[in-house]
């Protein structure tokens, strides 16, 4: 028997490459979470009376609710498909650290839903008339917030993986957990746009993200293992 083994880093890289490839396979699919986010933010104005001042006030809220929901919609696929076709089982049995591999999958989720938001956030903020100096703050908020959303969402997806119809149960589990992200994120964004200091909500957001980053891997692995039984 060949005793040559692959290292964890190589395996995680292969996993990430595979998931990205699956997402890219259907060309334009990577853009879809972003597209969805744009559509959601486009819906608000439609549903509102065309009073522009109102719109500017709720823009940060719409941005963050849109981010949360687009992240949520993509979550459903995170583990469910892998569980159904048996590849998750293979992942659990490959002898490499399971927590790490699951985090790699979460990273893919962030790459597909979080990163695009980070990239368009400056644009959106400019369109809303945020001052130039506010950019670093907004970027930091969106970066931290989307990371936290992916981590929390992954735990929720793991929990509901073994349940068959999880569409809204997942949402119900994740949304309350994600509420702090939303609150601090929207607050920081609103302050940044208004040109006021945003350190307070930003620190809270950072603290929350660190907290989820420490708790999530463990909870994630435990949840998925139970789902596999």
């Amino acid at each position: 028997m060949s005793e040559q083994r692959v290292g964890f880093a190589a395996a995680a890289a292969a996993l990430i490459a595979r998931d990205l490839r699956l997402a890219l396979r259907r060309s334009g699919d990577t853009l879809q979470p972003l597209g969805f986010f744009l559509v959601v933010t486009a819906l608000f104005p439609l549903a509102l009376d065309p009073q522009l001042s109102l719109l500017r006030d709720i823009a940060p809220a719409a941005l963050w609710v849109g981010a949360l929901l687009s992240s949520l919609l993509a979550l459903d696929l995170l583990f469910r498909e892998d569980a159904q076709d048996g590849t998750l089982e293979q992942l659990a049995l490959c002898g490499l650290p399971f927590q790490g591999l699951l985090l790699a999958k979460t990273a893919v989720h962030w790459l597909l839903t979080g990163l695009p938001l980070v990239l368009i956030a400056p644009l959106a903020a400019t369109a809303l008339g945020a001052p130039y100096e506010a950019m670093p703050g907004i970027l930091a908020a969106v970066l931290l917030g989307t990371l936290a959303l992916s981590l929390i969402g992954a735990v929720g997806a793991g929990l509901t993986m073994s349940l068959k119809r999880n569409g809204s149960l997942l949402a119900l589990l994740v949304l309350p957990l994600a509420a702090p992200v939303l609150i601090f994120g929207a607050r920081a964004t609103a302050l940044a746009i208004a040109g006021e200091p945003l350190a307070a909500p930003l620190y809270l957001l950072a603290a929350f993200t660190v907290l989820s980053a420490t708790l999530a891997p463990w909870a994630l692995a435990a949840a998925v293992r139970i789902g596999l039984e």
């Binding site: 259907r26 060309s27 334009g28 699919d29 879809q32 597209g35 744009l38 559509v39 486009a42 608000f44 104005p45 439609l46 509102l48 065309p50 522009l52 719109l55 369109a127 008339g129």
Partner: protein, 249 residues
């Protein structure tokens, strides 16, 4: 008997030959009309008493916006024809429309945004007209996304045809959104019943540009549809002949 022309039109080789012959008849007028329209619009038309020279962007914006809607209607109609009569040609036309339509929509959005900056002091407002035009872009993107997600051409044709037909309800909504809501955007001043409310020196170049854009669209459509047909029918023998004809001639 009256249907014979229809079935002839629907036969891929016949359509291919027809399209090849017709393309120059649209491409050249398109170039000439656009040139005339641009000269009329950018040189001859007087500056607007309110907007100065800024208004001249209308000569790209309005035709692009009109065509974004018209192309959708063409796309949906040919999709319906394809579904009902199982015509490859109609499917090919429909599939070729999507990218063109999406480009016109993007162009209308981009020129509108450029125009909005001097006019409304902002590139973008969540105004009903602007938003619904954005939704039209999403509709095109959804159509393309659906097509791309299905590998089998036949299935992709039929599935995206269903989507195109269902999506046609959005067209009137975009068109009338300015009337139904009190929008920032200009109400129709040309495309409405009765007399247009625009001085002739401005209007005539606009109409020229509109005609030019339309001819350009048809020419582009014919070229793309030919490509689509060749891709679909690559196993049929007429394609070899067509390829040979293009290679030699």
């Amino acid at each position: 008997m009256a249907w014979v022309w229809f079935h002839r039109f629907g036969s891929p080789p016949h359509f291919y030959r027809l399209a090849t012959r017709l393309t120059p008849w649209f491409a050249w007028p398109a170039a000439l009309l656009c040139l005339a329209g641009l000269i009329g619009g950018l040189v001859l038309a007087p500056p607007d008493y309110q907007q100065g020279d800024g208004f001249r962007i209308i000569y790209v914006h309005a035709p692009a916006a009109w065509l974004s809607l018209m192309v959708y209607v063409v796309m949906a109609t040919s999709a319906a024809v394809g579904l009902i009569w199982r015509m490859t040609v109609a499917y090919a036309v429909s599939a070729s429309c999507a990218v063109i339509g999406a480009s016109f929509t993007a162009l209308a959005l981009a020129t509108g945004m450029l125009w909005g900056r001097p006019m409304w002091g902002t590139y973008w407002e969540w105004d009903p007209r602007l938003t619904s035009e954005l939704l039209l872009l999403f509709l095109y993107l959804g159509y393309l996304g659906l097509r791309n997600s299905i590998d089998d051409v036949g299935r992709a044709d039929r599935a995206s045809a269903v989507l195109a037909i269902v999506g046609v309800v959005n067209v009137p909504i975009i068109h009338y959104s300015v009337i139904w809501w009190n929008s920032l955007h200009q109400a129709p001043s040309v495309m409405k019943f009765g007399r247009p409310t625009m001085p002739a020196a401005m209007l005539v170049p606009l109409l020229l540009m509109l005609a030019g854009f339309t001819a350009y669209f048809v020419a582009l459509l014919l070229i793309r549809a030919r490509g689509e047909l060749l891709r679909r029918e690559r196993n049929a023998h007429w394609t070899a002949e067509a390829a040979g004809a293009t290679a030699t001639g």
